[in-house]
Amino acid sequence: MLRDITLGQYYQTDSVIHRLDPRVKLATTICYIISLFIVDNLIGYVIAGLFLALVIKLSKVPPKFMIRGMKSILFLLIIAVGFNLFLTPGETLVAFWKLRITKEGGRLAAFMAIRLVFLIMGSSVMTLTTTPNNLTDGMEKLLGPLKRIRVPVHEISMMMSIALRFIPILLEETDKIMKAQIARGADFENGNLIKKAKSLVPLLVPLFISAFRRANDLAMAMEARCYRGGEHRTKMKPLVYHKRDGIAYGVVVCYLALCIIFGKILL
């Protein structure tokens, strides 16, 4: 029941995108998100769409995985589109009862929807093609310079990777506790909002306790193996740039340039 969350799930296959350095993928994702907010005309979004389609094609991840991820933001999407559609002032197109749709509102709503969909798809391409470990490694390396101003970069990325690692474990745990309480006659589905919220107590208390217990055990196991933060720690597989990573950076720069030229300056 809780298993269809795509965010943070890795799709195992062998493709160019999978082999890219995680730093490249992180930078590309950030650039892509920025590009979505730079462009504000149709040509720009067509370019962004084509770029995304190309990357998805190259990644060999079945598109249905992306679509499954969309379900979780459907609600957000409807709200965002609804508000933009009805509450933007401007030239009225259609009006009924107290609601009116303006030309500007329609445009804004459409762009907002495209932006959101591309945003989620773009970031799921990254998480689907990069293992969580690789991702946090890349992040640590990219944020490296911040160490000079005493940002605990290593600690942050370690927390990230532990958090990601624990998502499936906690989901499984939730499922188990839920079943155990249902076996004791608990009801998680029926009743009004207050009743439903109350019915979560028998689920959340054991879940928190088990999370704390696991955290404790993990901390103990890490200390037993002499973990003491990032200092002097070497990597078994250090990140090294290859030729394909250089090419990828080139492609991203070209894409950004295209976006700025066609999506902003022209028109």
């Binding site: 309480q181 608990a186 306790i209």
Partner: protein
């Protein structure tokens, strides 16, 4: 790739029987017991309780779950209330019973698992592992089930705690006459208590018979990663070296009598 967790399961569990469900990790025993109270629904096939299909649309699942009590593995992980007594009250309260009846049942259940009164108003998290498990089992017993299913109730307990829990379950069953299904991966644990053993392997029932009949196949049991009780091996070895003992023995007590008889005769 399709993978069937359970295949060709045909079982009848008569009232009052004490059953041991045995299989190594991943053999499908936990999946099977979750079908018995409707937590999981079979992809194909039916589950009947007292003659009624539990997956019929108008079947009352909540009532079924109070009649078929399921104690999960590591049940102490489901405790959540501020004190032991209110945690045990959770089950009967969900059944919609009034306060008095709920508390009476909770008290009786805690007595049944042999927990002392002094612990009743302590936080369940302050208890020892064995005591927590008793409280969790009491939480299911308080619903007064007709069938009690325990999924590896002795996992992670020391030998003393294990024997105490198993003895308690056996006593409980004698007192109340309820049907008990004991899930385990250890023949040793169940041999002493049960009337019938069901051996699971790769999602299928491999043997379903009285313990002594099942242990005759100790060679086959070994092949699937299980073992007969140590007594069986000793008796087989004695027989081989020429002592005329009964190899169908399942408990140490019986073995003792049989060996003494053989030596006398």
């Amino acid at each position: 790739m399709e993978y069937a967790a359970l295949k060709d399961i045909n079982l009848v569990i008569p009232e009052g029987q004490f059953i041991g469900l045995i299989g190594h990790t991943g053999s499908g025993k936990s999946t099977l017991v979750q079908h018995l109270n409707g937590l999981l629904a079979p992809t194909s096939g039916n589950v009947y309780y007292n003659g009624a299909d539990i997956h019929d649309k108008d079947y009352n699942k909540k009532e079924l779950r109070s009649k078929v009590g399921l104690v999960f593995q590591y049940p102490e992980h489901q405790l959540f209330e501020i004190d032991v007594f209110s945690d045990v009250c959770f089950g009967p309260k969900n059944l919609g019973l009034d306060k008095k009846e709920t508390e009476l049942r909770a008290y009786a259940a805690l007595k049944q698992v042999g927990l002392e009164d002094a612990y009743f108003y302590q936080s369940p998290f302050d208890l020892s592992g064995g005591q927590k498990r008793r409280v969790a089992i009491a939480g299911v017993l308080a619903m007064k089930p007709e069938v009690l299913i325990l999924d590896e109730p002795t996992a992670g307990l020391d030998p003393k705690g294990r024997d105490e829990i198993l003895d308690q379950i056996a006593r409980l069953r004698e007192e109340t006459g309820m049907t008990v299904v004991l899930v385990s991966h250890s023949m040793e644990d169940v041999a002493k208590y049960v009337d019938r053993i069901i051996v699971m392997n790769r999602g299928q029932v491999m043997f379903d018979n009285a313990p002594r009949e099942v242990f005759r196949h100790y060679k086959e049991l070994e092949e699937v990663g299980l073992a007969a009780p140590q007594v069986t091996y000793i008796m087989q070895a004695l027989k081989k070296s020429g002592l005329n003992v009964d190899t169908d023995i399942t408990t140490i007590q019986e073995a003792k009598t049989s060996i003494l008889n053989a030596l006398k005769g």
